[in-house]
Symmetry: C2
Subunit: 247 residues, 2 copies
Amino acid sequence: MSAVTILAITNLPEIKPGNDLLAYFLRCEPALQKGDILVVTQKVISKAENRLVRLDSVEPGPEAREIATRWDKDPRLVELVLRESAELLRQDRGVLISRTQHGFVCANAGIDLSNVDGGSTACLLPLDCDLSARRLAEGLEQALGFAVPVIISDSFGRPWRLGITNVALGSFGLKPLLDLRGTEDAAGLEMKATVIALADTLAASTELVVGKTTGYGASIIRGYSYTPDQQAGVRQTIRPMADWFFS
Amino acid sequence: MSAVTILAITNLPEIKPGNDLLAYFLRCEPALQKGDILVVTQKVISKAENRLVRLDSVEPGPEAREIATRWDKDPRLVELVLRESAELLRQDRGVLISRTQHGFVCANAGIDLSNVDGGSTACLLPLDCDLSARRLAEGLEQALGFAVPVIISDSFGRPWRLGITNVALGSFGLKPLLDLRGTEDAAGLEMKATVIALADTLAASTELVVGKTTGYGASIIRGYSYTPDQQAGVRQTIRPMADWFFS
């Protein structure tokens, strides 16, 4: 392929818990076409799935209180971070970095206070991001009569570079990893270690139209010739802990 | 902005040391337009700048020999990795991860054996990637009469996710970090910690048209409204070591 277009979906309303996302995407602008990939930000999914927690309702435990005191943080937020984490990898200079229950390594277990009811409500990651993507993709295919792969995106920091980039938290309908090992590169030399993180790359590209300030919560990637896959998900993109070089 | 297009440059020839890249990009297909961003893969730049080293010409030292023996690697390649590295962070299960002289953290100091004369030649990263981008961007502006920001891309692995994604090694002509701190998000809540790694995001998106197997070495991003900057470079995207959480 030689041209790919990324289009913001411009008519997605502010999402409330219980909203039927499928209905919104069936009448989105621009309309979904055959061959399109739909990328939805995590916050849209989390709101629709009511992964919202009022901080008032959270009772912090002793560990959360201790961490919060040490770094001058809200103990109720720290309590939520601990609950969403399988392991706290770092608490350093006020930053909490953990491995989430899903296996993602990120700050604050992916919990965000911004953009939800003025900050008093925490927005947690979806429970099963691949499943969320699958539900939406299956609904779209049934209604439209053609498959539309779905990716759920979020923005993560990186350990040795500044700024955040989008990654994929969930996907359905396409291969999230493009394994080129054993194929030949343009010079005819076998490529030994090239696996493209395709779901992450697709998610990353959408930041160009779904900026944090635009308020757009979803986008369409048009013109990319993906490999369909009804089994794979972003779960496969998580590096097994046995293969970690940094922990 | 609501639509961004990524276009492969389809007529870039195989690059040889000393080739005049500017001349190629002045007659590239599609032609550069006002507002475009040009993204060139590291290998194109490295070849033009003759950052190629025949392995035959490399005399490995004692440290390289020791590491090579331990992991069953080519001692000449290990010698080059050590020369290009400021610090070797990990040697584990045959993988060498270092901080390069530029400050990038990556495998094999970014050295690649694939796609160069059948594997007997190593391709090193450019000496100063921001400067390489600047030279090309300044040449383009002088010839075309309008500015074209230039990004140099490469593919890196990530510590906790599988597969590689593109990052920016060098840039000129635009702000590589989009600092949204202090601005308001769509709900009117101030964003506290949002800096978008824009150069990396732009680089990442181009993998969708400049796949490893296509052989395309450069691409154009059209329709993205960037913030011009004649001073900044990817250098600013490198996280200072004092701010590392993982080392």
